[in-house]
Symmetry: C2
Subunit: 184 residues, 2 copies
């Protein structure tokens, strides 16, 4: 059929799950340009978030460790957090880095915005890198008190990244881009 400029159109949209601002699931009945009809197509809406690869002046990278129910495991991740309504993603990134790790940084780089899931959406991640970073406060331990800071030497971060050893996709993506953007 080749390319076309007509998008799919929703004949009807139904909200199946509404747990704003955390999760919303929509069901759409779609008309395609080809004349095909897709009933009950599902879209998952999750909050957009900012995620940060920061390099401290002493060559360490701040990570956080916490229990994640979705994986039923403790994970090591880059600091990240949800974007509040109307907030500029860079402001979210600076706030979350400060809250979760106690770190502030002099120079910030926006590395792009990426949808998590091609089929269902699942929110957009905004990836940032920062350098000239230093710890200015004690980290917050999170709403549930189980978040801990881990300062990892850059070379260990790189080696773990190369081996695919961080369990979450947003952390892996942001480390890969961050190493390039900061040329480290």
């Amino acid at each position: 059929m080749g390319d076309h400029n007509q998008y799919w159109r929703a004949r009807e949209t139904r909200l199946l799950v509404d747990r704003s601002p955390h999760v919303r699931v929509f069901e759409e009945d779609l008309d395609l340009p080809s004349g095909a009809f897709i009933p009950g197509w599902l879209k998952v809406e999750l909050p957009d978030f900012a995620i940060i690869f920061a390099l401290l002046e002493d060559g360490q990278v701040p990570l956080v460790r916490q229990y994640r129910r979705a994986l039923d495991a403790f994970t090591l991740e880059l600091p990240a957090g949800g974007i509040e309504t109307g907030e500029i993603p860079l402001i979210t990134a600076q706030r979350e880095l400060r809250e979760e790790t106690g770190v502030e940084a002099a120079e910030w780089f926006s590395m792009g915005s990426f949808t998590l899931d091609a089929n269902r959406g699942c929110g957009v991640m905004h990836a940032f890198a920062a350098r000239g970073a230093h710890q200015v406060a004690a980290p917050d331990h999170g709403d549930l008190g189980d978040l801990s800071l881990c300062l990892m030497p850059l070379e260990e971060v790189r080696q773990r990244w190369r081996k695919g050893q961080f369990p979450l996709a947003p952390t892996m993506l942001t480390i890969g881009l961050g190493l390039q953007v900061l040329s480290v």
Copy 2:
């Protein structure tokens, strides 16, 4: 509170949306080790999938272009596809590369498995790289006839990746790792 070895436990689990094998949404009432209780915590289950960064012997990388309802846009992505029940992810990767792009490859590398969303889950992506690839058949145009093959020179892929110009997180992550693993 620091670390602990007791995981959160589900007192009750309810299935809110069941569109197997595409989407399932669960609601859990959780008991935490601290004694805290979280009612109605949501988990989103999406199919696990394989995604492939392949390098053709002529230096091009096969990508696919298609309309994605979740973004309401045409995207340029690495070939990818859902893992069928009991299937080994490498077999999925080889099948999807062949189906979507008509390409077969001599050498395969597993680069890791990553959960898409830290809070909700949203499935696991299995990232592969392949080299010594060559086109052996015409690409399939997909279930809806709107998938098209795009062969992009490696240098253009690298430049677009550095600038964050692919819209989907799994494609961005897999390109970043693939460039490292294939040392290109």
